[in-house]
Point group: C3
Chain length 326, copies 3
């Protein structure tokens, strides 16, 4: 699927990409046109992909990409159909190539190309407050309400029967039906992802979106960052309380209840019917199973299988936690 | 006392209420007019009340309500003057009845019925910024200041000598004298209280208010949710730092000092002269005594008697905590 | 150096200052003019200073101040050139004197003396959104962008190539070049510092600033309070994620990376190249060395030497933490 919001500049000649990486090799690469950069799973034969950690070994073997940015020691895991491009730092090289395909995904300045909502025509039944600005490429379904001073920057699709509060900032976000977003949320900005380099940090591009599914409620002051290469997703019927932070690429399943001031770090995946108590934190790149319950204040630093109740820092089975702390 | 802000539709025939609950019984109930739904303590003989947990046994015996929503196993605790209405889920039934008495307490969409402050007449000495909107049923005392872009939605009473910052959203809130509310606070929205039901969550009504007493300071970015059946209360001279979350029905005593990023979950009661360090969290339905000190980062999961100093997660006596962690 | 933003009313006669303190002594003080109140290190011979804790013994011996507010038991540490003014509560007395020199540092009401940005002339290349208000004494460098509804109150200097998001509130802040401030930040308000007195809290004056150095990024919803007597400082190339709270007088070094929802309490000093994981908290008045790494969720209650990796609550060496929690 092509990217809904960020324009892909393509095709790009492989040799141009290699030049971007200052790539030097004894091998010669036949010049060819590359259409996109994708992760191992979604790449097709016209794509370039990347492989930077053994964790993804299961995926690499079936990738359809013709080229893969990787390192010397991982090279051997690639299928024959996929030619390796060996670099020093796989993630920085991937970021550079992504930026080349999606140059406008780097700039996250405020959206200056906005119009007062009164000058636009959405559904007649849209109820809206004062001082609302709307960017390009915004759709709003029927029977929605939008509170005062809310800013809907470019690239936002809102379904039917949605209630947006006041002082909200949205961009690069898809909201399905019957969703409530409460006051002061900031949704869809780039994530906190970058590589420390000499004299600063190199921010990698964020070409993913935020996707909020049917019947969700997002509490006041939430920050939900958009994904880097994939989307940040909030599943159907999931409710978030106030002051929650959801980092880039996080995926939360259906019917979850997440209490106030919880933070979920980048790329973690939360199952269905998960309950998370107030102020709990979940580290990045973890997998939390279905029906898991995480006690308030917990610090989760390991993945959790389905149906477990945990508490503590680091989080452990709740029975064990309570027994140890009698 | 009648509800200050949410209109009570009354009286309602008892049999109408029973129909709402799909209530079936061999007993017949004489039809009678019910005037309100109240908690066990504040109910009078024209009220219906509810009793869902042994925790409230002390209160149930002296309730003046004529009818009580309860469960089969709790029924026996009721005084003779109070007739039980046995249901499967006491809290959901209570929510349904509350919604019937207070239908307008369910909708928390942004307040569209607002007026620019320049078009209204408050005290001549009111100092105010730009882009301020005021809802119906708002009173502002003398010598107050209100910052830019602040939104005072319906049902707000502000005393004398109060300073409100900018970008604040207020509704359903009573603020007494000499109170400072700093920038970006959201005060008076419904709490994060609901019951998971098939295909979603059933939000229970919030007919309580937020009450902020004399000389308080509320730091930037605070969220203070209004109560469900009772009020959320901040006591006299209590100071809150930035980014604090106070859930519905919480009551905080006088002269408390609460540092940044603290979270207090629903219905907990905090005594007088309590000091709470930064990022500490307090679970719901707890009682924290007077003069308690809670160390920064603590996770409080049990009630704390007066005069204790605690720290840790779970919080324990600070001496014990420090000894164990030498 | 004179205070950049807060006007010092000087000189003040020493006897006037002593009257403010209700100071009584058998000693007589020759009347003399005092020019400022400063900390032990930056004071010169025309200044009054203060000394309230043994922790600062190293500094007191070389202070150049001619007068020092202190207590009976600390008096002996002063050099001969510095005359002691013995009071009951050194910090309250210091606050009273500071207020006398800087009367306008006490009032933190919203800035009413603002102008719409369209009516002002900054660099032609300034890109700005709607509904932006600017206070007195504001400078903006070239090639900056400022998002919608952002409020730049009095006393703000912004360098070149800075990007400010929307809904930001700034005051009493110096921002150097190439800095990004994301949406909803509140930067430069007074800190949460006061002394409990009878019937309330006595807030001490905040005459410090916030200083954000080159290439920093400050995430959404951050609160960074200005210093009391010294500045709050964010070092070059330091990146802050969303929902972070930085209290008054905190100093953070260069090249630090601080993840979401971290809180740093008043007057702590963080070294260079420090990494802090999400939701970690750092108590006040600590010193965190260079190259320290603090795991997500940690609670740091002691100073940390250079190059250490810590985790836990209370934070300890990460190897120890992981071993104990296997």
């Amino acid at each position: 699927m092509s990217n809904l919001f960020f324009k892909c500049i393509n095709p790009i000649e492989l040799n141009d990409l290699l030049k971007t990486l200052n790539f030097k090799s004894n091998e010669t690469f036949k010049d060819t046109k590359i259409h996109d950069i994708k992760d191992l799973v979604s790449a097709d034969k016209d794509s370039i992909t990347f492989y930077h950690s053994k964790k993804y070994k299961d995926f690499v073997q079936s990738t359809k990409a013709s080229y893969c940015i990787t390192s010397e020691n991982l090279k051997k895991d690639l299928p024959k159909s996929c030619k390796s491009i060996i670099v020093k730092n796989v993630l920085i090289s991937t970021a550079l190539i992504t930026e080349k395909f999606y140059p406008n995904s780097i700039n996250d300045d405020f959206d200056n190309d906005v119009t007062a909502i009164e000058e636009l025509s959405f559904h007649k039944d849209t109820k809206h407050g004062n001082n609302i600005l709307i960017g390009k490429n915004v759709k709003i379904g029927s029977n929605c309400s939008i509170g005062h001073n809310t800013l809907i920057e470019k690239n936002v699709i809102i379904g039917n029967n949605c209630n947006l509060g006041s002082n909200i900032i949205l961009r690069n976000t898809i909201i399905k039906d019957n969703v409530s977003i409460l006051d002061n949320c900031v949704i869809g900005k780039k994530g906190f992802g970058f590589f420390p380099i000499k004299n600063g940090n190199y921010r990698y591009p964020h070409i993913g979106l935020v996707e909020i599914n049917d019947n969700c409620e997002i509490g006041c002051g939430a920050t939900i960052d958009r994904g880097s290469l994939s989307n940040t997703v909030i599943g159907k019927n999931t409710f978030l309380d106030n002051q929650i932070h959801i980092a880039h690429n996080v995926k939360i399943g259906e019917n979850c209840i997440i209490a106030g001031q919880v933070g979920i770090a980048g790329s973690s995946i939360i199952g269905k019917n998960v309950k998370i108590g107030g102020q709990a934190g979940i580290s990045g790149h973890l997998k939390i199973g279905d029906n898991v319950e995480i006690g308030g204040g917990s610090g989760v630093i390991k993945s959790i299988p389905n149906n477990l109740k945990v508490m503590g820092y680091p989080a452990k089975e709740i029975k064990k936690f309570l027994k140890e702390n009698r």
